[in-house]
Symmetry: C3
Subunit: 263 residues, 3 copies
Amino acid sequence: MKKELLKVLREKKPLVHHITNIVTVNDCANITLAIGALPVMAHALEEVEEMVSAADALVLNIGTLTNEQVEAMIKAGKAANRLKVPVILDPVGAGATKFRTQSSKKILEEVKISVIKGNSAEISILAGKGGKIRGVESQSVADDISEAAKDLANAYNVVVAVSGVTDIITDGKRIAYVKNGHPMMGTITGTGCMLTSVVASFCGVCEDYFAATVEAFVAFGIAGERAAQSSNVKGPGSFKVIFFDEIYNLTPEIIEKDKKIIL
Amino acid sequence: MKKELLKVLREKKPLVHHITNIVTVNDCANITLAIGALPVMAHALEEVEEMVSAADALVLNIGTLTNEQVEAMIKAGKAANRLKVPVILDPVGAGATKFRTQSSKKILEEVKISVIKGNSAEISILAGKGGKIRGVESQSVADDISEAAKDLANAYNVVVAVSGVTDIITDGKRIAYVKNGHPMMGTITGTGCMLTSVVASFCGVCEDYFAATVEAFVAFGIAGERAAQSSNVKGPGSFKVIFFDEIYNLTPEIIEKDKKIIL
Amino acid sequence: MKKELLKVLREKKPLVHHITNIVTVNDCANITLAIGALPVMAHALEEVEEMVSAADALVLNIGTLTNEQVEAMIKAGKAANRLKVPVILDPVGAGATKFRTQSSKKILEEVKISVIKGNSAEISILAGKGGKIRGVESQSVADDISEAAKDLANAYNVVVAVSGVTDIITDGKRIAYVKNGHPMMGTITGTGCMLTSVVASFCGVCEDYFAATVEAFVAFGIAGERAAQSSNVKGPGSFKVIFFDEIYNLTPEIIEKDKKIIL
């Protein structure tokens, strides 16, 4: 069943409402289209509730947050909760400033989140296990990030997904390790944000958010591997172009063949 | 005469002032440069009037509107009206939320618009003929979108341009159908916004805004066709890169040869 | 020593905090990564001081300024001054509107800037020597832009860098002319902003900001030349992709071999 999730996604074309940062917003829209979903970006307090009411998933990404934006996120998130629309939180830079840590926690307290997707430092910090972040990049993390992720998942009854060389996805009970991906993905900005958009796209068509998130990580990582192997890649500029092509050209068969999941 | 409009554009390099969304603003700047005009983006209330006073065209694109931004649009639009600078409105997502519909109408009431460019749902909704939009993508529209476009054109004494498989451009009396374009253009975000920037670029050098808009749609569609035919296109990433190249490499001769207009 | 500055940069990976415009923010993040540094973007008043305290350089770019953003820039800039973090100012469009000219001057008065990087009109205007700008592009400048740059450098005890066919970098005493670069760089938006990010990246690892700025201009110009010479460049779309690759693939040896500096 899971094998065909990409097919379902492309048939249903879920609408993914983003409230996100100004740095990678264009990439998030394009990756959402490339995987087969439909992006819409809207952050005005006057319209977020109405926009999310038409959506199949909501992304809250705090990459360039402001107080007003966090307010819009919470308003949209509460509407999503009422409508059973899954909410995906990307706590970009949690730990880098108090404002980001507190805003992430505030969103977690006020909105029922479906999936938290972060790097190891962000997850470690939100789990209360310490960790250090430099700008928006992990520097040090909890000794056992799997345990931190599980604790966070259980604390908020949420799927927690930690991106890294080996990705970790857990709902507090189940845990999956995904080994797909390639170091070239770290040479461009926005891969983290784009992955969150892809997670939301899959959650928009699959109520088992753990399974949806695993599938998203696998698909995203495989596209990265395939792009990196292209003889046309000469650096991050060409990698990015071909990465979008590879996301677009993914098939359930490619995912089945190349997936590296340890359950 | 119309054949040479691109030549005039590249000689005069009109300055196109944009008040636009955060998703596609970079693409709009780059497409404006690629067609041969000069983009400038400025939205602060403190400077929009002064900035538009140096401009040859003004783009108002509500893709990620806020109340304050709409206020800046109206202020800039009124200044543009006083100075006879053409104003191009892209009512992105009108119909998706009341806020977008009402803001579009408010701009239309308070500013003399030269060209409204939208998809069929946006135009149908602004014409009061119903229609349905999902996020920012047309779902259903008036039975006869040509009539809806004409009615809207006559109601506001404006050129109305409807993008679609066949584009429709009308000033309420004249009507043109443009058959240029390619489905690959729908695989990336921002083609609608970019087209609006190209319309504004042509309107900045041609007072017959109907003719200017037709030329812009034709040019844009031809570049899309040429890009899609490239053997280097493997998906939306590479398509986008080559599309910018093709816009830049357009000539009056290519446009004359490949245009598909039904008047 | 200077020859190896790129090596130092890539070892230290300086964190470059940007408060910048919505048009080119993604390009600035990607160029910062490509040269070997680490970008972070944050503009909320609540966090700019804390974010800059972890940074090695601060970019203030007024490309789409608002009053609130200028306030955040000054707050971040003052914190940077206390912490001896270099501050790089890009006064985009100074002269195009009073708001931009006055905001640039306000920042210069309230924050100790390390490097001002602008085009010739922006620098001429800030030096009080007149000049004319159309949108954000130079139209006319002081008779002797070198003298204007020196005056500005001495007035604020700052390095002044003027981008152009021949770039001029001066600290008021020393002056360098850089002849690297290529006209294709003007076919895409954001090269000016990206250059500022690269200047900041070098200043983040070298306290001689004059030397760091010269090295940044040389490196940036060489990458532009190398990209433009690629047989894969067919226009601005492909140029931009390959330009990022070339920044990433720069080595101290390439810089040493291709640099065109007149001291």
